[in-house]
């Protein structure tokens, strides 16, 4: 990066010199020469500062995938402290199969993706950085087929691939440690534990509304890419909106735009794109929770 900046500066200086010489040779007056020299210098400075800014933003705030996963693991461990896994190995394996297949259609197929169903009657789903994704038993029980599960998981995959939660963490105190989280092999986890602390409210943090709409749009595309019917998520949104209001959806409704609004925004974005796409719903294979 620095070398490139240097080259640009060198090129500009050379150009400036040549230009000055040509102008002098053609007999332009000194004032005009000074003026254009000043303008060129301004331009040169602004190029240099842009490059500097780019270098800074690229270097400081980015986490490696390993760091991201380590952060996500701590948060996921905290979440499981509040609501443990449903003790049904077949269910957990099934959810990982569907989720990993869907995530492998994204631009981050090689993250170590983990999916799970947690023991809560609430209707909700959570994503932590690095690919840790959980659906509540309450939401899972609402689902009718595999394409709906795929749609729900794909929405969370959308949050992970666009780093929606990670960006919030980066803006908070964690960012100060920028990129040095795993520098020391020994005590690396300790460091992350200290930074994240206990608690998992980050997974239920209200994201920007646009981030939710974006995750919805990503979800239907990932589901379609995976060979599922694209309408799994819209279907679930419709049902949650229809189910209306009780305590089970309190947190979901508080932290997300209303399902009806998501449904209509998503519908507008989808338009006629998927009209003739006949993916699978796989209702017969869908694992029913006991």
């Amino acid at each position: 990066m620095k070398r490139t900046a240097g080259r640009v500066l060198f090129g500009l200086s050379l150009g400036l010199g040549l230009w000055a010489w040509l102008n002098a040779a053609s007999g332009l007056n000194l004032d005009e020469l000074k003026k254009s020299a000043e303008e060129l210098k301004k331009k040169r400075d602004s190029v240099a500062s842009d490059l500097d800014k780019k270098a800074k933003s690229a270097g400081l705030v980015e986490y490696s995938d390993d760091e991201e996963s380590a952060i996500g693991r701590q948060i996921a461990g905290n979440l499981l402290g509040a609501a443990p896994l449903v003790k049904d190995a077949k269910l957990q394996k099934y959810v990982n199969n569907v989720g990993t297949w869907v995530a492998s259609q994204s631009e981050r197929p090689d993250l170590p993706w983990h999916f799970g169903v947690i023991d809560s009657n609430d209707i909700n789903a959570f994503a932590a950085p690095g690919g840790y994704i959980f659906v509540t038993r309450g939401l899972y029980r609402m689902l009718n087929d595999e394409s709906e599960l795929a749609g729900v998981l794909a929405h969370e995959v959308g949050h992970v691939i666009r780093k929606h939660h990670l960006k919030i963490l980066q803006k908070s105190q964690v960012v100060d440690q920028g990129g040095k989280l795993l520098e020391k092999q020994v005590g690396g986890n300790e460091k992350i534990r200290n930074l994240i602390g206990s608690g998992a409210e980050i997974v239920a943090r209200s994201l920007d509304k646009e981030a939710e709409f974006e995750a919805d749009r990503i979800a239907v595309v990932l589901a379609a890419r995976s060979g599922y019917e694209a309408y799994g998520l819209p279907q679930v949104l419709q049902e949650i909106g229809h189910a209306g209001s009780d305590d089970k959806v309190a947190l979901l409704f508080k932290t997300h735009p209303h399902p009806d609004e998501r449904f209509s925004r998503l519908g507008n974005a989808m338009g006629e794109r998927f009209d003739n796409q006949k993916g699978q719903t796989l209702a017969a294979r869908f694992y029913r929770i006991k």
Partner: protein
């Protein structure tokens, strides 16, 4: 006896085939065509206006078969809001009540015996290494996922991301 069995089989099949939406009513979220078949290039039977009531009969992909005073046919599921017309306002008010106070959460915990998951609980959550290790033990490799997809005849498709809504 044989006859009874047959009827039972029919009944069970009917139950299995029972679409999720059978008997549901809904209303048009926006104006859209009522089509003869569940395809965008199918013949239009009628034009439904926003707010028109429909009875939802069954589902096929992104299409719902509906009955309406203007005729029967297929409508894009994205154009229909399930439930009684005018529910949107009810939804808004319930949303407001949710935002104003959620004192009932504790009650649900007490009556069901299964924990809800509210913000306080999430804030107080303590790291559980055994559970996260267990969660990770169920992970699926990409190769396994591919096999799983093959079994379900799921074929990867090329689909572009959808741009955000233009306003």
């Amino acid at each position: 006896m044989k006859n009874t069995m047959r009827w039972m089989a029919v009944f069970v099949l009917a139950l299995l085939a029972l679409p999720v939406h059978a008997g549901d009513s809904g209303a048009m979220l926006k104006a859209d065509e009522l089509k003869a078949e569940p395809y965008s290039d199918a013949r239009a039977v009628a034009m439904l206006a926003a707010g028109d009531k429909v009875d939802i009969l069954k589902k096929d992909g992104g299409w719902l078969k509906v009955k309406s005073p203007k005729g029967s046919g297929w409508v894009r599921m994205l154009s229909i809001r399930r439930g009684a017309p005018g529910k949107s306002t009810a939804g808004a008010s319930s949303l407001a009540s949710l935002a104003s106070g959620r004192a009932g959460t504790g009650k649900v915990v007490a009556t069901t015996g299964i924990r809800g998951l509210n913000e306080e609980e999430l804030k107080a959550a303590k790291y559980d290494e055994a559970e996260i290790t267990l969660a990770e033990s169920y992970s699926t490799s990409r190769a396994e996922a591919q096999k799983f997809a093959d079994k379900g005849k799921l074929k990867a498709q090329k689909v572009d991301y959808i741009p955000g809504e233009m306003k």
